[in-house]
Subunit: 261 residues, 2 copies
């Protein structure tokens, strides 16, 4: 699942796109997901400045576009062509949802095959003849009352699914924060109990559910070490006689911290 060149074996084929802006949007969508191979079958207008404007930083994808007269030519060398379709048809092949289709295509890609994602015209979709050249009809599970995805948006979704199906995206960026240990949280709990007993808010002879409730809350938030120190510093200042509180300075806080830890 970590073959970096896998996505280079996925080509996007737009059949008879009407709006050059959509070609640019498709190029941008492809590049954001690591795809680069774009084929256009009988585009209405290409090259076109509108395509280049909408491509933003993905004009290199447009520079390498392959234009063909037929879908068959655009699929030369491909083992599995997935046809995006938004409506039920008289198909002789079972349809797969986008996520399952990406998994299926991903298996072919990881087996070193070339695959294609084929998108029809914005208005009339794919012809039955073109659909017959594709091995895998695919539907995006859209709102049945309004399934009209923009062409660029459909390309974006499928490229995203292909990226997830073939690339090891690793863990999401993590913060390098130190978690508090169980004993540090326990010391915080004891500090709270001591301080709230002193104020009279907590009555050890009639404890009710206060400490369990606080313990549950602290468990849930997965305290960091710095957070435990901040809370204990705050409590230390609450513990001081009122007259002393206004004397609080950075030095005073530092003393409170060191005296408690």
């Amino acid at each position: 699942m970590s073959d970096q060149s896998a996505l280079s074996r996925v080509r996007v084929v737009l059949v008879q796109p009407s709006h050059p802006g959509n070609i640019g949007a498709a190029a941008r969508a492809m590049k954001t997901m690591g795809l680069a191979s774009l084929y256009l079958v009988r585009p209405k207008s290409f090259p076109d400045t509108e395509a280049y404007t909408r491509a933003s930083g993905a004009t290199d994808v447009l520079d390498r576009v392959v234009i063909t007269d037929t879908l068959g030519e655009a699929l030369i060398g491909v083992t599995t062509a997935a046809a995006l379709t938004s409506r039920r048809r008289e198909l002789s092949l079972p349809v797969q949802w986008s996520r399952d289709a990406a998994h299926t295509l991903g298996q072919h890609v990881l087996a070193n095959e070339q695959v294609a994602l084929v998108f029809g015209n914005e208005t009339f979709g794919l012809s039955n003849e073109d659909l017959a050249l594709c091995q895998l009809p695919v539907m995006i599970p859209a709102n049945p009352d309004y399934a009209s995805l923009n062409l660029g948006a459909a390309v974006q979704l499928m490229c995203y699914e292909m990226r997830l199906a073939t690339t090891d995206i690793g863990l999401a960026p993590a913060m390098s924060t130190a978690m508090a240990t169980v004993d540090e949280v326990e010391q915080l709990m004891q500090h709270i109990e001591r301080a709230t007993t002193a104020t009279g808010f907590f009555d050890p002879s009639n404890p009710k559910r206060l400490m369990p409730r606080l313990r549950r809350m602290f468990s849930r938030i997965a305290l960091e070490r710095d957070e435990v120190n901040i809370l204990r510093g705050m409590i230390s200042f609450f513990e001081r006689p009122l007259a002393h509180r206004r004397a609080g300075t950075i030095e005073a806080e530092a003393r409170a911290d060191s005296s408690e830890s």
Copy 2:
């Protein structure tokens, strides 16, 4: 996982969107995935004809837009706000990938809470102050060399993930074709063996791997009943003496079909 109203508890919040076209694209993307609640914080221009043009059939989403002065106002009533971010920052919260975040948000939605997907300005993203109001930083696992998703495309991806995380999409549309049974395929195999023995192509005394290879092929394609009938009809015609072949008409084919089945 089949709560149809779950998506009504997901609001999309665009903070300071610069391009009205992107507001329209976001509305369209939302509606295709069944979302309807759009908030705009200090939009540069709204209402705007460009937004309505790009929204296509989703202008009803624009008609119900809520405009606020601050992100805080747009998040009133929300328990979990997810902030889409495209770069690492000095965050105090762990980041989740889009798919995992949709799962997390989906749990809140299914527990009857309101959640928000928050998207920043096209150029400068979200301010640190706005980010601080969000509980869940989210990243789309884009190409690290070009992670510049169009705003509408990012909204499309997250709404798609939310739909998959909260809605029972059911099975993909299936064809009502009758599969061939094992015995029907077995009769086809026997028919092929008989016919190819007659032509001399197959030698039963030296069978090699022909029949196992054909059996493997037929297993893989999961033959339908109609397909078995077509193949047997074809073979029946091959079996006839050459002189009779030209007599083939629709009636002849029908006879062949009925005599074999």
